[in-house]
């Protein structure tokens, strides 16, 4: 399957060694644009100015916990697929993340590169489809409004 060339993946982990290891792998294996952040607040800033397809984040980070981060990220870019990559095998927080932040996938550290790549690729696919759906719905809305307007004009002209 050809990689989606325009896809952007954001990696957020307060451990630069984790973020860098993930980036090395993804840059070698894919053509995706990779953004890495060790500070969740900076990552939120970047989300306001860059369209991101998949967001991969650790659970606990100084300044903002992972679930809070994902919730805020969802408000900024609701269509980006959100993946939690964490070493905390903590059921309560996993459930919190799924329920409160609309999590797309939950991965555990240490991670398997091949699985991670597959999850991100599927996330990109999912986000692309959602965006396409949004565009189609917007086009339909536009056409619907146009039809409405034409109908109104017709009635005004002929009746």
């Amino acid at each position: 399957m050809p990689e989606n060339r325009s896809a952007t993946v954001m990696l957020v982990d307060d451990e630069p060694m984790v973020a860098t290891a993930l980036r090395s792998f993804l840059e070698l294996e894919t053509a995706w644009r990779i953004l890495t952040f060790s500070n969740p607040l900076r990552a939120l800033d970047a989300l306001r100015s860059h369209e991101v397809d998949v967001l991969v984040t650790d659970f606990m980070m100084p300044g903002l916990d992972g679930v809070m981060f994902l919730r805020q990220a969802r408000e900024i870019q609701p269509l980006a697929s959100r993946v939690l990559l964490t070493g905390y095998a903590d059921k309560t927080n996993a459930i919190r993340a799924i329920n409160e932040a609309g999590l797309y996938y939950y991965l555990q550290k240490p991670w398997d590169n091949e699985q991670l790549k597959m999850v991100i690729r599927n996330g990109i696919e999912r986000t692309t489809l959602f965006r396409e759906l949004d565009r189609r719905v917007a086009a339909l809305d536009g056409a619907h409004r146009e039809l409405h307007e034409l109908r109104r004009k017709l009635i005004r002209t002929f009746l």
């Binding site: 860098t20 290891a21 993930l22 090395s24 606990m60 590169n113």
Partner: protein
């Protein structure tokens, strides 16, 4: 309590503390190990690609660009692996200096070493939540039972971190004082109610539920400090925080 019995209780408590800390340490190991694990996989892939490129003994422009890309990735990997290996070494040496089965039971030590190993082992509890401020003085080495004192510092640090509900600061101060040294561990957590202040060193006294082994931390800390002919004192204001001060003589009697 007899000396033998005390050693038994202290050893049991050390095991219990380490038991609860093992999960935390495992997590601390997980980060560098995860990075090395991933990098090892990338190395294997990179090697495969390089072998493919070299297989026909001809390297064209496209392949050259690919080689450059791979070399960049390998560069990143080296940096991360250096960091990861350093981290693993530090963790292992903290664990070793905390437990120290190889060291004499009674020894002359720099007390900061034990404090630092306890902080490092607690890293998982503190990380992202609690800032540790170190205000260390210039101290003489003191004669003590290092493994036991490490247990005291660990217990006080665990208590301090548990007293902080969300985010906060733990300040560790060390000073030379009256033919001895003083270590103060202060938190800006919940504080202790005045009516409980007299009871906190009683064995089994706890405000945190009734599991077996709960409420032994401070009682054991005091037993160990007594054995060193030292003193442990507390001051606390509910809602503001708590400070424990341990005074220890330079030489054991």
């Amino acid at each position: 309590m007899s000396d033998d019995r005390l050693t038994e209780v202290v050893n049991a408590a050390r095991l219990a503390t380490l038991g609860t800390l093992v999960a935390g340490v495992a997590h601390e190991l997980n980060t560098p190990l995860g990075a090395i694990n991933s990098n090892h996989d990338v190395l294997r892939r990179a090697l495969g690609r390089l072998q493919n490129i070299l297989a026909d003994d001809v390297v064209d422009e496209t392949e050259l660009a690919e080689v450059r890309r791979i070399v960049r990735a390998l560069d990143d990997i080296m940096v991360v692996n250096d960091l990861a290996v350093d981290r693993l070494n530090q963790l292992v040496s903290s664990l070793r200096s905390f437990g120290r089965p190889d060291r004499a039971e009674r020894d002359f030590v720099d007390i900061h070493e034990g404090i630092e190993s306890a902080i490092a082992i607690l890293g998982h509890e503190l990380k992202g939540r609690i800032e540790v401020v170190r205000d260390y003085g210039d101290l003489p080495v003191i004669e003590c039972f290092p493994n036991e004192l490490n247990q005291v510092f660990m217990n006080l640090l665990v208590n301090a971190s548990q007293a902080i509900a969300d985010r906060g600061t733990i300040t560790v101060r060390t000073r030379g004082a009256e033919n001895g040294i003083a270590v103060e561990i202060e938190d800006d957590g919940n504080g202790i109610a005045p009516e409980n202040l007299d009871r906190i060193f009683e064995p089994g006294f706890t405000t945190r539920g009734s599991r077996i082994g709960m409420g032994m931390g401070l009682a054991i800390a005091r037993q160990i400090v007594d054995r060193h002919t030292g003193r442990i004192t507390v001051r606390s204001t509910p809602g503001v925080g708590t400070a424990f001060t341990v005074w220890l003589p330079v030489r054991l009697g």
